[in-house]
Amino acid sequence: MSNFLTGQLMAAGGENEPMPSVLAVPIDELVVGLLAFFIVFGVLAKVALPKIREALAARTDAIEGGLRKAEEAQAEAQRALEEYRAALASAREEAAAIRTQAQADRAAIVEEARNEARAAAAAVTAQAEAQLAAERAQATSQLTRQVGEVAVALAGKVVGQTLTDDARVKATVDSFLADLESQVAQREAGR
């Protein structure tokens, strides 16, 4: 009396039973609907969906993990760069300090050398002056002594000869003076 493919009751509203309302809710159909849902819900919630949830969580973790790794690498690189810059800056500071120190040292050394040279020069000068003074004193005393001796010799000579001969006296005095001069010149050259 019914056809499965075309579906409907052929005797709709006809001989046997009155057509039920489309808004009727028969218990058996209700149970079919409830069963259908609970079977689908039970299997999906217990079996299928937890798997895909895990897979999605794993994917999220993988993506976030990759991002975190990249961030870490970047931070690491940044830190290395900072360290390098800091090292470079401190090296430069050190170099500048060394240079300044070297300049200061050089100035000090030069000053010291100059002072030493000055001191040495002063010492030499002082020594020379002292020696000069000593020699002069010596020469003076020697000259004084020799002038005395010469005077004595001259006097002896003058006394020993006759003073009448004016020409001889004159010659003696001249030769004495010449002697004296040559002696003085010799002394001068000896200095």
Partner: protein
Amino acid sequence: MSLVAAGSLECKFENAANPCGFPAAGSEIFFFDDLVSWNFLGTTVGINKVTILVAIAVVMVLGFFLYAFRRPQVVPKGAQNLGETGYLFIRDSIARDVIGKEGDKFVPLLFSFFFLVWSFNVLGIIPFAQFPITSVFAIPVAFALIVYFTWVPLGIYRQGFGGFFKGMLFPPGVPKPMYILLSPIEFISNIIVRPFTHAVRLFANMFAGHLLLATFSIAAYYLLSFTVIGLLGSVASFTMAVALTAFELLIQALQAYIFTLLTAVYISGALHAEH
């Protein structure tokens, strides 16, 4: 009968009361005889087309997702990709958008509703099945009852009995005297009418769509005769049936979406007091 019957020499439908009259599709196309039936605890229990289609839909939905998610890979392909699109749609566009950060807990419920309802609807345009199971009122009613008995206890559990009903019946920001008018309306609309409209919205859409498809399909066959009028009428009806089939494809997905979205909205309302 004159224009149509003039070309066609035979009556296509036998009806004693109205020979050759148009056999417009009526509510009888939503009822099926039992194919097998037996006595169970004093009542007759049978299997008809609806039961079989429900079983097929359940098996198809479960079969697809069990297959698609059998060994999910981190990098998806094939069926997993397709199933995942569905899962992410439910999770992100419905659960998280409507319910918020607690939405993930309700994804299995929403997921089951969406794909079960959609597959029930789609059977309306699958050749040989050609019957949307959701146009049998008991099926949307069963689903709406599940939703109703989910969000009401959930609301009472989360907000307390008093808090739940206070939030529902006395929405804040309304002048006090208005509650005389407002509270009964809120009670009727939320507690009594809501599950009914939830079921009827789905049922009526599928019912009307199936009726339209049936009417134009019958007309295409009924009008077919080798006359100008017959050909025009038949071709127009057939075109209409095809266009409506495409339209139904849209409506089927849309109604499944709306049913699921409303489920999420009700659950969300139960979780968070209105303010």
